[in-house]
């Protein structure tokens, strides 16, 4: 048993865990970076490769939605720092709703593509890549949503303030990261369309 557990050690662990989150974001970044370079190499390999379509407008909407969600979670974070838990709850809920909306919009964008005849299963793999990029991002969004829900549960159950604060800190960083990754992906795909 620890004989002398002190606050300092807890905060140190928290700091280390936050750092660990940054590190895992480096890992996730490498994932999307490698997919990007695979895409670039593939698309450059022939004139008949490439996205060859205008990306659905649903992507614009989903971009707006996710940026909005970053704003709401920012306010949620501000609220918790000021110990305004009702506000925190509201903004968290809003973020989650926006996150789900983002998810739905992405799926809608996929259905638009399918209607155009641009399938995932394709001899032009650049088009398949669009699904891969957005799909991998969605998988991480699901993770992000779970993190947000955990925060929401925490606020509702009135967990100790320090833990609430800590959970929000991590959630905010991760959610902003997802937002930035999406913006990068969207711009990247736009450049190649």
């Amino acid at each position: 048993m620890y004989m002398e557990i002190n606050k300092e050690e807890i905060f140190r662990t928290h700091r280390a865990q936050k750092f660990a989150l940054w590190l895992s974001m480096i890992g996730m970044f490498m994932l999307f970076a490698s997919l990007s370079s695979a895409f670039i190499v593939y698309t450059a390999s022939g004139v008949d490769k490439g996205i060859k379509t205008i990306l659905p407008s649903a992507f614009i909407y989903s971009t707006i939605v996710i940026v909005l969600s970053s704003v709401t979670i920012h306010f949620a974070n501000k609220a918790v720092k000021k110990e305004e838990f009702a506000k925190q709850k509201t903004f968290l809920l809003a973020t989650i709703v926006l996150g789900v909306l983002f998810f739905v919009l992405q799926l809608h964008a996929w259905s638009v593509l399918i209607d155009r005849g641009i399938y995932f299963i394709n001899t032009n793999a650049s088009q398949s890549f669009v699904y891969i990029f957005t799909g991998m991002h969605l998988a991480h969004i699901i993770g992000g949503l779970l993190v947000l829900i955990r925060c929401l549960i925490g606020v509702s159950r009135k967990i100790p303030y320090i833990r609430n604060l800590y959970r929000m800190e991590l959630a905010v960083i991760f959610w902003h990261f997802l937002d930035i990754i999406w913006i990068y992906l969207y711009v990247f795909l736009l450049l190649y369309q």
């Binding site: 480096i26 891969i132 009135k158």
Partner: protein
């Protein structure tokens, strides 16, 4: 609304109860020492499994025309008539490679020893995120289970080589293992990658954020440096394998064309077009090459430690060793193309990768020289760990030198995908890295289990394995030069290969004997857990922090405060000091008679005090 105030004790209450249930203590433990043991034992079991697989295919290679009813008894339809089928042979080599490279030498080596040593050697209570650490183990166990389960599938386990190149791995009709077996392989590796990233993130963060007072980066033992750098390399390169695997998964299951094009398999014209297997090769080897360095870097650190402690001398060139570790890590991510010299990629790339690959030999050579210099004028104690460490250096020299052949694109034309390559990587990975791992087990067993391993069994284990491994892999170089390709089921179809069949018999017997010698190790390992001699706190008389903890494991590692660190970890045989080692926790003020001015770096005050003391006591500071 006010928040509930939190007391520090309260926050720890739920994660570290006084009496933990069996499940919490042994199964779903978040304690890094328990997780280390879990990693180690799982890796040992998987290693035995992979060893068994290798004996099976070695039997096939040595006696290609003989029937072995035993095999049919165990393997059923995969060894009809007592002879292993060619399909199954390829599955054997595939899974053998996968398990050894990933599960044993990555998870078993860096998983175990990062978990055990990082908090202990840097002075932390536990990892940065113990829960995530536990998840890392359970994902690893899950991946082991899935990989083993792939043997019980109707169509057999993956059989396209551990590199799983499409189109062979992408089309189930190309080879039977490319059906469900390969899907399970992909799933297993996906879980494994998650395990490694979860672990690696923990290791890096703990090292950077949770060192104890006085533990600067330049006071960390080389073991920690190597585990740190390994984790960084892993973090950067494993996600790339995720993308390779994801794309391959979709090519197989959905019919996309990332890697596939122009295929007519078994008479069937496949619809895929436009893809290229070379893309897969690039993505795979972007991980694949750093992966093998991830396998050897911890061994480097471990061997530095073991050589130093058992020669009673500081490791020669501590800073140079750290810089060479960094150089190897950085270079390892830009050499992957040397696996693809003959794929038909742009020849210019071939030149580039040859350049970077041969450059990586320089820091590696520096390390080998430094190891040898550590032995010079030492006072060497041959514990089994020490023998394994010396063995590691020997294998690394032998294997590393053959890297000069394989890394040279022009020579690679001749030896690519032949037994020369097999010999090369079995020396550097299968022997050097493995010996590093064994040295670590022998060396840190007292820390893991509080008891000593039996020395005699250790010697037997070492000598049989050392000689056995040389006998197994050295002849393979020549087979490769002659042009015998790897992954060949039998040498019976080509006249020029027939002379090597007798050599195959030698190799197989050596492999069998070396394999049996591992039983000595396993017996020793499990028997000594209960019946070994009880270990003292610091049985090897080492300077590092882990030996300042109590023999019995406690959460939080140190009762009371974590010790402060004052000096680097290599104060062995310091002139002027009565003992032949000074622990890191001993302040310089207590060792005035042996302090060197360089110990104080730029601390003017301390240098002044020391100079005064020297004058008063007529001490002339000598540097050997």
């Amino acid at each position: 609304m006010s928040s509930t105030a939190i007391t520090p004790e309260a926050s720890f209450q739920d994660s570290h109860e006084e009496k933990q249930s069996f499940i919490k203590k042994y199964v779903f433990s978040t304690d890094h020492k328990m997780i280390a043991k879990q990693f180690l034992i799982t890796a040992i079991i998987m290693a035995f499994f992979a060893l068994l697989l290798s004996i099976l295919f070695r039997i096939q290679l040595a006696w290609p025309d003989k029937d072995f009813p035993v095999l049919e008894f165990f393997l059923g339809k995969w060894a009809e008539g007592g002879r292993i089928k060619p399909d199954f042979y390829l599955a054997l080599v595939t899974i053998h490679g996968t398990i050894m490279v990933f599960f044993v030498l990555t998870a078993g080596l860096s998983g175990t020893f990062s978990n055990l040593l990082i908090p202990l050697q840097i002075g932390a209570r536990d990892m940065a995120a113990p829960f995530v650490n536990m998840l890392s183990y359970w994902f690893f166990l899950g991946s082991c289970v899935v990989m083993t389960a792939s043997f019980f599938v109707e169509s057999g386990p993956a059989a396209a080589g551990w590199t799983v190149y499409p189109p062979l791995s992408a089309v189930p009709t190309a080879i039977s293992g490319s059906g469900l077996g390969t899907t399970m392989w992909l799933l297993s590796i996906f879980m494994f990658i998650i395990s490694q990233i979860l672990g690696g993130v923990n290791y890096i963060s703990t090292i950077l954020n949770m060192r104890t007072k006085g533990m600067d980066l330049w006071k960390m033992p080389l073991t920690i440096w190597s585990l740190f750098i390994t984790a960084i390399v892993g973090l950067v390169s494993f996600p790339v394998l995720v993308s390779a695997v994801v794309l391959l998964f979709f090519d197989r299951s959905a019919g996309t064309s990332f890697y596939l094009s122009d295929l007519v398999i078994g008479g069937e014209i496949l619809p895929n077009e436009g893809g290229s297997p070379i893309l897969y090769e690039h993505l795979f080897w972007f991980l694949g090459h750093p992966e093998v360095y991830i396998a050897i870097l911890p061994a480097f650190g471990i061997v530095s430690e073991v050589l130093s402690i058992n020669s009673r001398k500081p490791i020669f060139g501590y800073h140079a060793m750290v810089y060479s570790l960094m150089a190897i890590a950085v270079l390892s991510v830009i050499v992957w193309g040397h696996h693809m010299f003959v794929t038909g990629m742009n020849p210019f790339l071939g030149g580039v990768f040859m350049l970077t690959t041969l450059i990586i030999a320089i820091p590696s050579a520096v390390k080998a020289f430094n190891y040898t210099a550590t032995l010079w004028r030492g006072n060497i104690r041959f514990t089994p760990a020490m023998l394994f460490a010396i063995g590691m250096v020997s294998f690394f020299i032998s294997g590393g030198l053959t890297g000069l052949f394989t890394g040279n694109a022009t020579i690679d034309i001749q030896i690519h995908d032949t037994y020369f390559i097999v010999a090369h990587f079995h020396f550097v990975m299968g022997s050097a890295s493995m010996f590093g791992m064994l040295a670590a087990v022998y060396h840190w067993y007292p820390k893991l289990y509080g008891r000593m391993l039996d020395n005699q069994l250790g010697y037997i284990h070492f000598w049989l394995t050392f000689i056995g491994a040389y006998l197994v892999f050295f002849p393979m170089h020549f087979m490769g030069i002659d042009g015998v390709p790897r992954r060949y089921y039998a040498f019976t179809e080509f006249p020029f290969m027939e002379k090597w069949v007798s050599v195959n018999i030698l190799i197989t017997w050596a492999a069998v004997i070396a394999g049996l010698a591992q039983i000595a190790f396993v017996w020793n390992f499990f028997y000594s857990m209960r019946n070994g001699k009880k270990a003292s706190k610091n049985p090897w008389r080492a300077t590092t922090l882990e030996w300042t903890t109590e023999v019995k494991h406690i959460h939080g590692n140190w009762e009371g405060e974590i010790p402060t660190v004052y000096r680097w970890p290599y104060d062995y045989s310091k002139p002027g000091h009565p003992d032949d080692f000074i622990p890191q926790t001993v302040p310089h003020s207590e060792t005035m008679s042996s302090n060197l001015l360089q110990d104080f770096h730029d601390n003017e005050e301390a240098i002044k005090i020391q100079k005064e003391w020297n004058k008063e006591n007529n001490r002339v500071e000598s540097e050997s």
